[in-house]
Symmetry: C2
Subunit: 209 residues, 2 copies
DNA sequence: CAGAAAACTGTACTGCGGGTACAGGAGGGG
DNA sequence: CCCCTCCTGTACCCGCAGTACAGTTTTCTG
């Protein structure tokens, strides 16, 4: 009963690491059972097929992802009441968290699924889509709060600006992994922070006359 | 002799579409030969193994990618001498080109390879890394030209800013594909354009006193 | 137009991996 | 004591990557 959950979790842990390095198609069930020390029958007791595994993997990943953002931005909100300052602080905290990852970001499962769409059923694709929409809502909410206080210097669409956060994160992960420069991702988040700062913060100095 | 190149190209065309939809691991050689109407022996006449195919696929993709950027930004340079204006125009042209793709961007092979690293040899990983570094150099060159004329409003590292262009493109593709909203990618490029504009263009209006 | 080289086809085989089927066993809880 | 959860073991089918190699057609070249 308790043991079952534990084994399931272990399979998911091993599978997540493997999938992020080799993709779903490149990850064999045989290697997963070898590494978890389980038998093939044991594996299929927990997951009906690879699609079930992918579903469980993605759901767990998204849940954990949401938890991390919740923690970071609620911590930022605790430290300041100003919506802009707390968002900027949140991006700072996020960038610090990302640069503290010893081997760099392992990769995003949402992106992995995205580049694998045709292999999975509609349910997984919908789950993935909803994860991205949740990011849009999350960052959009914070940006709307900012806009109520600070008029943006340039006209921007809130959803598109919220998507920019996701874009830079997903793109930063790809760059960081490809370049094998773990810090690139954190730097990209800080670059985004500069953008947000510039967009909303009133101009401090006078323009050169 | 000429016929060989043609068949090879046809295989690469079919393979590229398949790989972008299902990843390398999810694409079988058997399905490629079925669609191209070739036999298995014919396939292995052109490519020693899947790794060879991946190598050819990636090299061709990168070359084409470079060609497109060359065209767009040289067209932009033809239209204006100002480095900032021509870069902003280039981003505009790029966004238009992307929003004209009927089914949205099919996906980036560099990202696919990135999420598949462990399946390929070092050579492919190096090729991929060099492709990203080429983007950094390309956009970095243009941004340096801009900085010689326009002092940035905030202190920024050129390479990081250049990487931001790649990040937004890669991330925008992931978002666009996942959301099944073809226009998201083009919008993200325009959002990036707003960022660059704000960073370099002198403030037009006075701040609210 | 001949001959060589290029561009294939056909067949037959190995071995791995996904997946199925099903029988049975250990261990804890009611 | 029995049942339920959580597995193990065995045996099998099929699709697919890759090998081997002999033979055939097409195409270029002298």
């Amino acid at each position: 009963m308790r043991k079952g959950e534990e084994t399931r979790t272990r399979i998911l842990d091993v599978a997540e690491a493997a999938v992020l390095q080799k993709g779903f198609g490149g990850t064999s069930i045989e290697e997963l059972i070898a590494e978890t020390g389980i038998t093939k029958s044991g594996f299929f007791y927990h997951f009906r097929d690879k699609n079930e595994l992918a579903k469980a993997l993605l759901n767990r990943y998204i849940q954990n992802d949401e938890r991390i953002y919740d923690e970071i931005f609620s911590r930022a909100r605790d430290l300041t009441d100003d919506p802009l300052q707390s968002f900027l602080l949140g991006l700072k905290l996020l960038s610090e968290l990302l640069s503290d990852l010893p081997n760099g970001h392992p990769g995003c499962l949402v992106a992995t699924v995205c580049y694998y769409e045709r292999l999975f059923d509609r349910e997984i694709q919908e789950t993935n889509r909803n994860a991205v929409l949740a990011w849009r809502r999350r960052f959009g909410r914070m940006l709307r709060d900012i806009m109520e206080v600070y008029p943006p210097r340039e006209p921007v669409n809130v959803d598109q600006l919220a998507d920019m956060v996701s874009s830079v994160l997903e793109g930063g992960i790809v760059l960081s992994k490809t370049l094998k420069e773990p810090n690139t991702l954190a730097e990209q988040v800080l670059m985004l922070r500069t953008f947000v700062k510039m967009l909303f913060l009133p101009v401090a100095e006078m323009p050169r006359a």
